[in-house]
C-alpha cells in the first residue's frame, strides 16, 4: 500500500468520524468569507452614513471569528490526535518511521484542510446573497441588492485559513515527535487517575474560587466612570480566575463532600455522573474555563446587541419625545413647517409649549457646598400633558428633572439616591421665591434632548410665578437684545405625526427647516440611524455568537465522545451486573446535564452581570430582550446535549 492509499483510506474513515469538526470548519470558513466580502463591499457602506464604521465592524468581527476558530481547531486537533493514537502507534509498529507518520498526517491534514477550505469558500459565495438580503433588511435598506463576488476576499480567506492549517500541522508534527510508542498505546487508557484531593487545600481554593467570582460580580455593580478601564480589567481577571478555580477545585471538592457523605453507597446514577465528573473536571479545567468565558462573552454580546436593537424605538422616544420640536425665534419655521405638512396631506398634532431658560445652582440639601451651576430649562407640566405626554404634575415649588442620560451619568448609582436637592435661581429675588425643591429625577427627556438646558418640570402655577419674576427684572428687555441671552422666555412648537409612513415623509421635509449646517433632530431620522447601527451590531454578534456557540458546543461534544469510548468497558460491566440500559442512560444523562449545564449556567451568570453593567447604556429595560437572547442560546446549546446523548445511547446499546 502506498502512502497515498493509506492516506485516502484513513481520510475516508475520519471524515465519517469528524463530520461535526468539518461542519464547523466549513461553517467558519464560509462566514469568514462573507465577513471579509462585506468588509470590502463598496456598495453597502455607500448607503450608510459612516461607511468606515461598516468595514471596521466587519474587520473586528473577522478577527474575533479567527480567534475562536483557532482555539477550536487546536483543541479538536489535540483531542483527535489522542483518539487516533493507537492507529498512529500501529503504523509505527508495522514499520513506518516517525518521519513517515508525520508525512502521512501532514498529507492528510493538508488535503482535508484544503477540502474544507474550498468547500467553505464555495458555500460562502453561494450564501453571500442571503446574507446581503438579511443585512439589508436589518439595516432598513430598500431596493435591490447587487452581489459582487470578491476575489480579494477569497484570497484573504484562503491565506488566513492556510495559516491555520499550517499551525495545526506544526502541532501534529510536535505531538508525533514528542510521544513515544508506549505513550501512543496507553493514551486511550491514560485518562487522569482518580484520586481524592487533600481536603484542607481543596476547601480553601474551592471557596476562593467562589469568593473571586462573587467579588467580581459585586465590583461590577460598583464600577464608576473614572475607574472604568482598570476596574473592568480587575473584574475580568477576578472572574476568570474564579471560574478556573471553580472547575479545577470547587466542583470536585463539593462533589467529594457529597460522595463522602454517601460513604460508599453511591448508587448507579451517581456512580455514572458524580464520580467521573469529579475526576474529569480537574483535568479539563483549562478548556472548561475557556468554554465558559467564551459563552459568557457571546451571551453578553448577543444580549446587549439584541437589547439595543429591541429598545431602539423606546430609547429614541426617551430622547426625542416629539417627532419634531421647533424652538421659537427660528423665523416662523414652525408655521412654514406646518403649512408644508398640510400641503403634503400629512395628519399631525401641533401644540405649543412655553418654557423659560435661565441659570441656576443645584445643591445637595445638608451642605450647601456641593453645588452644581447649570443652565435650566423650566417647563410647565400641564402644557406638556396637553401634548399627550405622560408627565405627572409636581407639587407647587417642587421640580422633577427629566434627563435621559441620568442612568449613564451616574453609572450604576441610583439617580434618586441623594434627593431632595434645592435649586436656586440667583437671578430671581427671593420674594417671588427663587428656590425649588428637586424631588425626582426621571430617566427620559420631557422635551427633545437637543434643546439647550437641563430640563425641569414644574406645575403651571409655579412656572407662571417664575416667569413673572424673570420678565419683571429691570434688565430683562435689555438682555433679550443679546444674540444669546442668559435668560429668556422661550416656546416650543411640537409636532406629532401618528402615521408611520407619513412620519417618514415629514422627516424628509423637516430637514429644509433646520438652520444651515445643523443636524435635524427628529424622531424618525434618529430611530432609523439607531436601527441601522444596531442592526449591523446584531447581524455581526448574531453570527459570531452562532460560531462561538457551535464551537464551544462541539468542543464539549468531542470530549464527551472520547469519554463515551473510554467508558464503554464500564457499561458492559454494568450490564453484566444486571443494570438496565435505561438506568445506565439515566445516569449518563445526569452527567451530560452537568457537563453542559455547568459551563452554561456559569456563563449565563457571568453574562447576566456583564449585561447589567452594560445596561446603563440602554435607558429602557433590558430584561425581555436579554432573556430572549439567552433563551435562544440555551435552546441551540441543548442540541449538543441531544447529539451527545445519541452517541452515548449507541454505545450503551452496543454494550450487550
Amino acid at each position: 500500500m502506498t502512502l497515498f492509499e493509506l492516506v485516502l483510506r484513513s481520510m475516508r474513515k475520519n471524515i465519517k468520524h469528524y463530520y461535526l469538526y468539518f461542519f464547523v470548519f466549513i461553517f467558519c470558513t464560509s462566514l469568514y468569507f462573507v465577513f471579509v466580502t462585506l468588509q470590502h463591499d463598496v456598495s453597502l457602506p455607500d448607503r450608510m452614513d459612516g461607511g468606515s464604521v461598516f468595514s471596521q465592524a466587519f474587520l473586528a468581527a473577522g478577527f474575533l471569528l479567527l480567534l475562536i476558530v483557532s482555539v477550536f481547531t487546536i483543541y479538536a486537533n489535540r483531542l483527535f490526535f489522542n483518539r487516533r493514537s493507537r492507529e498512529i502507534g500501529l503504523y509505527q509498529l508495522i514499520g513506518l518511521t516517525k518521519r513517515g507518520v508525520v508525512q502521512l498526517l501532514l498529507l492528510e491534514n493538508t488535503l482535508l484542510g484544503i477540502g474544507a477550505l474550498v468547500a467553505g469558500i464555495v458555500c460562502g459565495a453561494l450564501v453571500y446573497r442571503i446574507f446581503l438580503v438579511l443585512i439589508s433588511s436589518l439595516l432598513g435598506f430598500d431596493g435591490v441588492v447587487t452581489v459582487h463576488f470578491s476575489l480579494s476576499a477569497m484570497y484573504q480567506t484562503a491565506a488566513v485559513f492556510a495559516v491555520l492549517i499550517v499551525l495545526t500541522s506544526i502541532q501534529m508534527v510536535r505531538m508525533t515527535y514528542r510521544t513515544t510508542l508506549i505513550d501512543l498505546f496507553q493514551a486511550e487508557n491514560r485518562h487522569e487517575h482518580p484520586s481524592t484531593p487533600a481536603n484542607g487545600p481543596a476547601a480553601v481554593f474551592g471557596l476562593l474560587g467562589i469568593v473571586l467570582i462573587l467579588y467580581g460580580y459585586w465590583q461590577s455593580g460598583r464600577i464608576s466612570q473614572n475607574t472604568l478601564f482598570i476596574g473592568s480589567l480587575a473584574i475580568l481577571g477576578s472572574i476568570i480566575a474564579g471560574t478556573y478555580l471553580l472547575f479545577r477545585v470547587t466542583i470536585g471538592w463539593l462533589f467529594g463532600r457529597i460522595r463522602r457523605a454517601a460513604n460508599g453507597h453511591l448508587g448507579l446514577r451517581r456512580a455514572l455522573s458524580l464520580a467521573p465528573l469529579m475526576h474529569r473536571m480537574r483535568g479539563q479545567a483549562n478548556s472548561l474555563t475557556v468554554i465558559t468565558v467564551l459563552s459568557a462573552m457571546t451571551l453578553t454580546m448577543v444580549a446587549a446587541a439584541y437589547s439595543f436593537y429591541y429598545s431602539a424605538g423606546k430609547d429614541t422616544r426617551n430622547a426625542l419625545p416629539y417627532d419634531f420640536a421647533i424652538e421659537n425665534g427660528e423665523s416662523n419655521a414652525a408655521k412654514h413647517f406646518g403649512e408644508e405638512l398640510d400641503a403634503k396631506g400629512i395628519r399631525y398634532d401641533h401644540r405649543k409649549v412655553d418654557a423659560i431658560r435661565l441659570t441656576g445652582k443645584i445643591c445637595a440639601v445638608p451642605s450647601l457646598s456641593a453645588c452644581e451651576e447649570t443652565t435650566l430649562l423650566v417647563l410647565p407640566a400641564e402644557q406638556l400633558r396637553q401634548t399627550g405626554a405622560d408627565i405627572p404634575v409636581p407639587e407647587p415649588w417642587n421640580a422633577a428633572m427629566y434627563d435621559g442620560n441620568a442612568k449613564l451619568d451616574r453609572l450604576t448609582q441610583d439617580p434618586n439616591a441623594d434627593l431632595p436637592k434645592t435649586i436656586e435661581m440667583d437671578l430671581l429675588k427671593s420674594e417671588s421665591g427663587n428656590k425649588l425643591q428637586l424631588t425626582d429625577v426621571v430617566n427620559r427627556f420631557a422635551m427633545n434632548y437637543n434643546v439647550y438646558g437641563d430640563q425641569l418640570v414644574v406645575s403651571e402655577t409655579t412656572f407662571r410665578a417664575l416667569k413673572a419674576g424673570m420678565t419683571a427684572l429691570p434688565q430683562y428687555e435689555q438682555e433679550q437684545m443679546k444674540e444669546r441671552p442668559d435668560y429668556a422666555a422661550v416656546a416650543f412648537d411640537t409636532f406629532q405625526v401618528p402615521d408611520k409612513p407619513q412620519r417618514k415623509t415629514a422627516s424628509e421635509a423637516y430637514a429644509a427647516f433646520v438652520p444651515e449646517g445643523s443636524h435635524p433632530f427628529d424622531y424618525e431620522r434618529e430611530y432609523r440611524d439607531k436601527l441601522q447601527s444596531f442592526g449591523l451590531f446584531i447581524f455581526i454578534t448574531g453570527f459570531l455568537g452562532l460560531v462561538f456557540l457551535i464551537s464551544t458546543g462541539s468542543m464539549l461534544y468531542f470530549k464527551q465522545m472520547t469519554e463515551a469510548e473510554q467508558e464503554k468497558r464500564s457499561f458492559i460491566t454494568l450490564r453484566q451486573l444486571g443494570f438496565e440500559k435505561k438506568d445506565i442512560l439515566k445516569g449518563i444523562m445526569r452527567k451530560q446535564l452537568f457537563v453542559f449545564t455547568i459551563p452554561l449556567a456559569i456563563g449565563i451568570a457571568h453574562a447576566a452581570f456583564a449585561v447589567k453593567t452594560v445596561s446603563v447604556l440602554v435607558p429602557s429595560s433590558i430584561v425581555v430582550p436579554s432573556a430572549t437572547a439567552m433563551g435562544g442560546y440555551v435552546l441551540i446549546y441543548f442540541i449538543f446535549v441531544l447529539l451527545t446523548m445519541g452517541y452515548y445511547k449507541k454505545i450503551v446499546k452496543a454494550a450487550i
Binding site: 481524592t196 448508587g267 456512580a271 458492559i572 453484566q576 443494570f579 440500559k581
Partner: protein, 261 residues
C-alpha cells in the same frame, strides 16, 4: 465436600448450540451441550483455547443468548426472558468475576463492591453490614477508599469478588478469575472463594485453564470443539489427588491442551 451439594437443581442447560456469523457461513462454537448443576456445586470448565468456554459461560450467565437450546436457572427459563426481566434476574441472583476485574476505575473499592446493592436505596444499613462482612472475609477492609489503580492484581480481583458476592447470589460465574494473578494470590483468592461458597451454600461455575485453580472445584467439565468431552468429580479426594486427575484428562485431551492466555 459433597456434603454441601443438595439435590436441588440450580442450573440446567439443554442442548445448547451457539453459532456466530451469518447463516450459511456461520461458525458453530457450541454444538449441543447438556449440563446439570446442583445447588452448592463448584463446577470448573476447562478446555483448549477456542473450545468455547467463554461462550458457554456467557450463555449460561444470561450475558449471551444461545442460538438453540434452553438455559434454566432455578427452574426459570432465562433463554426467553425480556431484557428488563433478565436484568433484574442478574442483579438478584447472579454474580460475576472476570479475568480483567472490570472494576469501574472512577469508583473506590467500597463503591465498586456496593454497586450491585445500591439500586434500591432503602436498606442502606443492611448494605453496610453486607459490605463489612464481605470485605472482612476477603481481607480488604483497609482498602475501602482506594481506587482500582492503587491496587495490586490480587486486591483488584478480591474487590471484584466482593462485588460479585455481596448480594449473596445464588449462582456465581467466573471467567479465568486467576488468569492475571501470580500463583500465590491465585490460591489465596480461590481459598477464600471456596470457603465463602461453603458458608453461603452458593453455587459457582468457573472457567479456568489452570489445573491448580480447577482443583478447587467439586467437578470439572472438559470442553473440546464445542462439545463436552469428559468430566471428573472430586468426590472425597484431596485437592492434590484431584489435581492429578485433571492433569491426566488434559494429557488425553491433546497436545496443546493447556491454554496459553
Amino acid at each position: 465436600m459433597n456434603t454441601n451439594v443438595s439435590q436441588k437443581t440450580m442450573l440446567q442447560a439443554q442442548s445448547i448450540r451457539k453459532s456466530y456469523g451469518k447463516k450459511g457461513s456461520a461458525q458453530q462454537v457450541l454444538k449441543g451441550i447438556d449440563l446439570h448443576v446442583a445447588e452448592g456445586e463448584f463446577v470448573g470448565i476447562m478446555g483448549p483455547s477456542g473450545s468455547g468456554k467463554t461462550t458457554l459461560l456467557n450463555v449460561l450467565a444470561t450475558i449471551d443468548r444461545p442460538t438453540e437450546g434452553k438455559v434454566l436457572i432455578e427452574d426459570a427459563d432465562v433463554s426467553d426472558m425480556k431484557d428488563a426481566e433478565l436484568s433484574a434476574f442478574r442483579r438478584k441472583k447472579l454474580g460475576f468475576v472476570f479475568q480483567d476485574y472490570n472494576l469501574l476505575d472512577t469508583l473506590t473499592v467500597k463503591e465498586n463492591i456496593l454497586l450491585p446493592v445500591s439500586l434500591g436505596r432503602r436498606n442502606r444499613s443492611g448494605a453496610e453490614l453486607a459490605y463489612q462482612a464481605i470485605a472482612q472475609s476477603l481481607g480488604i477492609e483497609g482498602l475501602a477508599d482506594k481506587y482500582p489503580h492503587e491496587l495490586s492484581g490480587g486486591q483488584k480481583q478480591r474487590t471484584s469478588a466482593g462485588r460479585a458476592l455481596i448480594h449473596r447470589p445464588a449462582l456465581v460465574f467466573a471467567d479465568e478469575p486467576t488468569g492475571a494473578l501470580d500463583s500465590k494470590s491465585a490460591s489465596n483468592l480461590l481459598d477464600t472463594i471456596s470457603k465463602l461458597n461453603l458458608e453461603r451454600r452458593g453455587t459457582i461455575v468457573m472457567v479456568s485453564h489452570d489445573p491448580v485453580a480447577s482443583s478447587y472445584c467439586s467437578r470439572v467439565i472438559f470442553l473440546k470443539d464445542g462439545r463436552i468431552y469428559s468430566e471428573v468429580y472430586r468426590g472425597d479426594k484431596s485437592r492434590q489427588a484431584f489435581f492429578k486427575d485433571i492433569m491426566d484428562v488434559q494429557a488425553v485431551l491433546g497436545g496443546e491442551a493447556v491454554d496459553v492466555v
